[in-house]
């Protein structure tokens, strides 16, 4: 589904934004990408969406490689990988229905199917009654639901979400997370960047990838793999869920197993059971 292979991303500053990051998310997996501000979460998501290219290494997403996909062909990837932002990025002055319809038009949906599909997508995110409302009149949680409906328009296999609850209150946050969970239950992989540890604790079966200063310091998917080899349950429950490294000790060190196997290749994490 998505694979980071020794990915490094450098900007014009001394420290790289990402340094030798490798992980592999499989189909239908729900994963949190966590870390402090500036740890490289957004960079990783932007790279996964090919909005930027890695300085070193390779990213494979839904069959597209960062090494072989030209800028002109990135649109093909974007139709298979949805993206949700913290600031929603909706078209102001247009209704929820128009925002979702716009995405359907863009991807070339047949004209007679655009409205019914947009209405169905809004219904899926619980916003059917407010389809005709201007997005400027909607609450933050509702706007994020519109953004999610829009991201689902192309029926992607993977949904990337960059701090999607960062601007929302607790209730709206819970609603959005539940929605992501439902979407994931339909088979869509979700990779959600967040620094909200409390939120992650509520979903102990999700895989957790933790970045710290551009390094992948914790990957619960890799731990699952070790546990499975030791004959333990393949489905991590609340007790099996690792706490992010930043919670474990004050020095920021981690005892987690590396995300890489002995060959240096990223090990595929286990698929969550739905």
């Amino acid at each position: 589904m998505i694979k980071f292979i020794h990915v490094t991303k450098e900007y014009a500053r001394p420290e790289p934004a990402l340094k030798d990051v490798s992980f592999h998310l499989v189909k239908g997996q729900f994963s949190f990408l966590t870390g402090h501000s500036g740890s490289g979460k957004s960079t990783a998501l932007r790279l996964a969406h090919l909005a930027e290219r890695p300085t070193h290494g390779e990213i494979r997403a839904s069959g597209f490689s960062s090494l072989r996909t030209s800028r002109r062909d990135v649109w093909k990837l974007r139709r298979k990988v949805g993206y949700v932002f913290q600031d929603f990025r909706l078209l102001p002055g247009r209704s929820a229905l128009e925002n979702v319809s716009f995405a359907l038009k863009v991807i070339g949906s047949p004209k007679n199917q655009i409205l019914p599909r947009a209405q169905r997508l809004l219904g899926q995110v619980g916003l059917a009654p407010k389809a005709g409302s201007s997005v400027d009149e909607l609450s933050g949680g509702e706007q994020q639901r519109v953004a999610i409906a829009r991201a689902l328009a192309s029926e992607p296999l993977l949904l990337l979400a960059d701090e999607p609850t960062g601007n929302l209150d607790e209730r709206a946050t819970q609603g959005i997370l539940d929605l992501f969970w439902e979407i994931n239950a339909l088979g869509m992989a979700v990779l959600m960047a967040t620094h909200d540890l409390e939120l992650m604790r509520r979903y102990p079966t999700a895989r957790v990838l933790e970045l710290d200063q551009g390094h992948l310091v914790c990957d619960s998917g890799a731990i699952e793999h070790v546990e499975r080899d030791q004959g333990e349950s393949s489905r991590p429950g609340p007790a099996a869920s690792p706490e992010p490294a930043s919670e474990r000790n004050s020095a920021g060190e981690t005892n987690s197993t590396s995300a890489l196997d002995s060959t240096g290749e990223p090990e595929p994490a286990q698929q969550r059971e739905i």
Binding site: H49, W75, V106
Partner: protein, 297 residues
């Protein structure tokens, strides 16, 4: 897949037109301001064109007076005059030759110099010589050519004297060169300024919609799909601006013609060229601006 392509292409074209019209409807003020900026920029070029055109016509009128006059001896025979006329007509720079008899010269003097009518009437003998007036082709009305033709004419033995107003032909040539340099430099400067203003106007309109471009990209729009509505919009803005510029230039021409002095309207090809320039600049600016935003995501 291939069967769906024509339908998809038709759908894309319809989408492009529809989105362009919707964009105009959604932000009429921004569209209007962009078109007005384009119009004013081209209006300045239009005024310059109007002034240049009339200056050129005025210079052409003056140039028409450039002619070489060969005054003939009184004893010149009709055969010699005919031979000289034939020889001059053969020269490539010569447009026409016209023989003026002594009587015609006197008649001309009567009509052109009425203040000397009394003196001319008192004369017992016509003192004015017969002459051959040599008109030059429009491209040959220079001091150098006039001088060369004058020398050719002097070679004929029946010629008494040759005149072509050497001084003012020289001044006219200098004026024409100055006019050419000035109009070229100023015209280029105005065109560049107009292009910059049009580019800025169109880019401001696109900058206001950069989020839309980013969203289109993020949901998987092809670059061409993003480009087309904006290119069409840039072209229409340029065309509207061009039409406004033509209207303003014509209004200026009409006002000057009716209230100040007689001038000529620019050739309509020039007006068409101005509108085309507006469309081309609009499309190019639009394409450049969208391309820039596309590369940001």
């Amino acid at each position: 897949m291939s069967q769906n392509r024509p339908n998809n292409e038709r759908s894309d074209v319809l989408y492009t037109i529809r989105e362009t019209l919707i964009a105009f409807k959604r932000v009429p003020l921004l569209t209007g301001l962009s078109a007005a900026m384009v119009g004013l920029a081209l209006f300045v070029v239009g005024l310059f064109g109007l002034a240049t055109h009339n200056l050129r016509l005025y210079l052409e009128t003056i140039e028409e007076r450039v002619e070489v006059v060969a005054y003939l001896r009184d004893d010149a025979s009709t055969a010699d005059i005919a031979a000289m006329e034939a020889a001059l007509t053969m020269l490539p720079e010569v447009l026409a030759v016209d023989f003026v008899t002594k009587a015609e010269a006197l008649e001309k003097a009567y009509s052109e110099l009425p203040e000397f009518n009394e003196i001319l009437t008192d004369l017992e003998v016509n003192p004015l010589p017969a002459s051959i007036e040599i008109q030059l082709h429009p491209g040959s009305r220079t001091a150098a050519t006039a001088d060369r033709i004058a020398q050719q004419a002097t070679l004929h033995p029946i010629v008494e004297e040759v005149q072509y107003g050497e001084e003012w032909v020289d001044k006219l040539s200098t004026l024409r060169r100055m006019g050419f340099v000035t109009t070229t430099v100023l015209g280029t400067a105005f065109a560049v300024v107009a292009a910059l203003i049009i580019g800025t106007a169109v880019r401001i309109a696109i900058f206001a919609r950069r989020e839309e471009i980013k969203i289109m990209q993020l949901v998987g729009a092809r670059d061409s799909f993003v480009h087309l509505p904006f290119l069409l919009e840039g072209g229409i803005t340029g065309a509207l601006g061009g039409a406004l510029a033509v209207a303003l230039t014509y209004t200026t021409f009409w006002s000057v013609f009716n209230y100040l002095f007689t001038i000529s309207w620019i050739p309509w090809e020039w007006a068409g060229l101005g509108m085309s320039a507006g469309i081309v600049f609009g499309v190019l600016s639009s394409g450049y601006a969208v391309r820039k935003h596309l590369r940001e995501v």
